[in-house]
Symmetry: C2
Subunit: 563 residues, 2 copies
């Protein structure tokens, strides 16, 4: 393949078919008239229509032409530029090492000029974060967008089916979450101003359909994708992104390692309607040949700017792995299992110095606020087994993440906090309560947690249990786990299984919290089930294809129902 000849993505079809009996509708803004919030409308066989939150972006709108070699339409560009506080600039030149090569020829084979944009950054003296705007009292288009999106037109629909005995009987237990009957743009603004919610939205990710992460909103889920030297290719990564958002991924983390990660990220960001998160230390490590001890602040800083210019929406930064916490992991059953955590621990021990992410934290904040990259403060010391749950190392780090949250907030940088991991059911609530307290109600974003260690091959389920529970207790976003966890890299089916598992966990949490209207979809589906409207039952489910495939047409009407 010649240099600069982009990979032929037509060979690898991007999935674009809408879900069955579904069409995209757009709800306009009031404050901001150019807002068009996409939703999915399902047509039922009884003539009713059900409107649902839709993460799948323009891919499921066949009236929109998409060429992944050119990227999606820039729906946010006018909002960002229209605020008058950003400037285009030349940007950092892409280097061969960004793609993992010394040699320019190899490095730029996968480089696609059509995906390059001149980066934007805050003009000198400006701060372009949603948190900054919120604190100024401004309702941005992004804020109004997420307000409309969260409402899902469900409040009105729910009223039709209202039944006061039922609503009273089923009213949720929110553990202090504040769930108003309808989400207004001003409510969104106030939640962001208080640091209780974030809209991860880098000004360079202009293709984004904004979404919000916070305890007082719908529980969100994240799907991880990422190439590896072993298996994957750029075109597979783009399809994985599309596939993840199709089934309900609210954000996607690109955990690529190995070669071509800069070029892969170009493809992912320019084609992503959802926020993209990364762990910049992974790429920084590639740049120093995989030797943790050779990492420097300069290499890391350069990587942050590289990724911020591309448009990454949130960075996992393991700034809480302090030198003094590392010895606390010595007696653990599973030591340090976070990849970022073990990289930083290795660096701290080798140099016997404090973590440079911690010592340079204010400088990191300055970069973040110039692009509105949100922090996802990493839990590098999270437990890798039940035996290590809620121990001194984990909770020590959490306290430090609380300190760092305050520093980030002084810079008006948006923050969420990552959480574990492996935690027995009875110790999950303590994690949530402590996180709320130590981190001043910044949104919590957890991996699972897994509630037992004995089911390799089924860790989407061991963790789905913990995820549903911590979502109920107040966790704002759940990072999915696939059936291949601990064993191998997930394939397409594994990704889907992980996402569906986490969607159902997040939804179970919304219901238990008493999120207004959350039960509307359950009631619609149950009604369809009771009336043997099989097609509606399939189409209202999280995965119509699997439900349809499992349905046995030969089955007598009453024998499939046990539960």
């Amino acid at each position: 393949m010649a240099k600069n000849d982009p990979i032929d993505l037509n060979k690898h079809k991007i999935t674009r078919e809408p879900l069955p009996k579904s069409q995209k509708i757009y709800v306009p803004g009031h404050l901001h008239e150019d807002i068009r919030v996409p939703m999915r409308e399902i047509s039922l066989t009884n003539g009713e229509k059900v409107t649902l939150y839709d993460t799948s972006g323009p891919y499921t709108d066949l009236s929109i032409e998409i060429d992944v070699r050119k990227g999606l339409q820039e729906v946010r560009r006018n909002w960002v530029v229209g605020r008058g506080d950003v400037e285009e600039y030349q940007g950092r030149a892409v280097k061969p090492i960004d793609n993992g090569y010394e040699d320019g020829d190899k490095a730029f084979v996968t480089h696609n000029p059509e995906l390059q944009r001149k980066p934007l950054r805050a003009k000198v003296g400006n701060n372009v974060t949603q948190l900054h705007y919120a604190r100024q009292g401004i309702v941005t288009p992004e804020m109004e967008y997420v307000a409309i999106r969260e409402n899902q037109k469900r409040a009105a629909l729910s009223e039709e089916k209202a039944n006061s005995e039922r609503e009273e009987r089923l009213k949720g237990e929110s553990f202090g979450a504040n769930l108003p009957p309808a989400i207004t743009p001003e409510f969104v603004r106030d939640e962001i101003a208080a640091g209780r919610a974030i809209i991860p939205a880098n000004i360079n990710h202009t293709e984004l359909e904004p979404m919000i992460i916070g305890r007082n909103f719908l529980v969100k889920i994240n799907a991880n994708i990422g190439n590896s030297a072993v298996t994957s290719s750029i075109e597979e990564e783009v399809e994985k992104l599309v596939w993840s958002t199709r089934w309900g991924g609210d954000t996607v983390m690109d955990l690529s390692t190995g070669k071509n990660i800069h070029a892969t990220r170009d493809y992912i960001l320019r084609n992503s309607p959802v926020p993209i998160g990364t762990v910049p230390i992974y790429q920084a490590l590639e740049k120093v040949g995989g030797v943790a001890e050779d990492l420097t602040w300069e290499v890391f800083r350069d990587t942050l700017i590289e990724q911020a210019e591309q448009g990454v929406d949130y960075f996992t930064i393991h700034a809480g792995v302090l030198l003094r916490y590392v010895p606390l992991t010595a007696d653990r059953v599973t030591g340090i299992v976070s990849r970022g955590g073990s990289i930083m621990a290795k660096w701290c021990i080798a140099h016997h110095k404090e973590n440079f992410l911690y010592t340079h934290f204010e400088e990191i904040c300055k970069i973040m606020k110039a692009y509105d990259v949100s922090f996802s403060l990493g839990d590098g010391l999270r437990p890798g087994s039940l035996a290590d749950a809620n121990d001194a190392a984990q909770f020590g780090e959490l306290e430090t993440l609380g300190e760092l949250t305050k520093i980030a907030w002084e810079h008006d940088v948006q923050v969420m906090i990552e959480g574990p991991g492996h935690v027995p059911m009875h110790m999950i609530k303590e994690n949530m309560d402590k996180q709320l307290k130590e981190c001043h109600e910044a949104p919590f974003y957890t991996l699972g947690p897994l509630t037992t260690d004995i089911a390799p091959g089924y860790d989407h389920i061991t963790s789905g249990i913990g995820a549903a529970m911590i979502g109920w207790y107040g966790c704002a976003m759940l990072c999915y786990v696939t059936p291949k966890e601990h064993l191998g890299l997930p394939n397409r089916d594994d990704v889907k299984t992980g996402i569906i598992t986490y969607k159902l966990a997040a939804h179970a949490a919304d219901i238990a919290k008493g999120h207004p209207g959350a039960r509307y979809r359950d009631d619609q589906l149950s009604q369809a089930r009771f009336e043997f409207r099989w097609e509606d039952q399939f189409n209202l489910g999280l995965d119509p294809d699997t439900a349809r495939e499992f349905h046995d047409e030969t089955l007598p009407k009453d024998s499939a129902k046990v539960a």
Copy 2:
């Protein structure tokens, strides 16, 4: 095929291979010397051995010859007969209608004379239930057997790994369950005497390896099997039984409908090391041509005796579906979804009479105690959707089940109580608390509950979440749900997926309760994981085959670990 020529089961191989690196060991009794409690011992690559609870019966002991046409060894026969309170008798003659035929020729095609035993029953004036013995202060062989079995040799093994900081940090929240460090035969007896636990063990099920169901013991799981007119055959049912116990099914319910259910049950019971439960009203309904209104106490009574003589260990009896509760379901989203519940509701409404299972309850008790069949008091009015959870119909029935529990206990008949169904997370605990109160701490046995209705195809997971939680809160046994729930009949893979999901949920519950030694297996597996002992990690897991299959040998050592 000629009459009386048993189906050739050799064509349909019964799975007998032990799980990888596992061998059967037997722990002898102290009080009762002829007790040999089977356990599974896994040999690790580091030379250590781990002993686990083993439900798989003699099938995984290759030193034992098994011919399913003849049935398993009768390990309990001497114990039952040795008590001197039972008599052999002629028993009820099998009728064509028992297999769903008018015509004897067809009915007896599948009849296997080699599986017939002369039934046992209590001698006049005797009561042969484990509850009766316990109240007399007797420790039966069954009681000592389950005491040894529950201990799993784990207490001693755990001590080796003890770490007081860790034990204190991870100590469970039992919500009032009483979990002594070691289970003694006397503790078992006292729990049974108090009605807090049952050993389902019909005196005619002499092939049984006894097990216990109660809040103060390990959480158990049930798998449903059952033929249907549509799909299945006797040999498939026996293999389903073996398959279910291989993966950890503690009890199995035979929900067969259609033809040959008596003959199928012969095969299942004579080849089952685990307790078998049934819903006798299903067979009774077959006998009256499927017309609920035509059911009579006489037909039902005859069916109870038929099944008690065969050796069924527990009967689901929907005696709590009272006439006055039926109208309470009128405003529900999903009405009455329990098959047994809707049969009885239909009967009550058609005759405008009280449920004959309720009015004849004392007579049922008299049959139960002559064979030691345990009650599983059915929740015929359980919710079939979140919208109907915890409503007046459901809780009204639960109160009636509490009344019936007391009546059964007056006859020294063992009782457990069935529970829902579909319940949002925040309403699960109320179910458990109310059941303990209304039913006087009789063991609770729930289906799931499903925590959302929107995931057809994934209801093993929506319900696994609820099952883990209610297990933690005190539920004694969890009835599995497979991925085909609501959609079709489960195949072999679905059964396995359902069982593994429920095993991990039950185990997560044991850990959260603080069951002594429950975390031992997790710690062993985590240690193996941390040391990259892949084979040990697979073999210590619930499903070594899937873990091994998922493991990607090409994977770099550190990249498969996210959680």
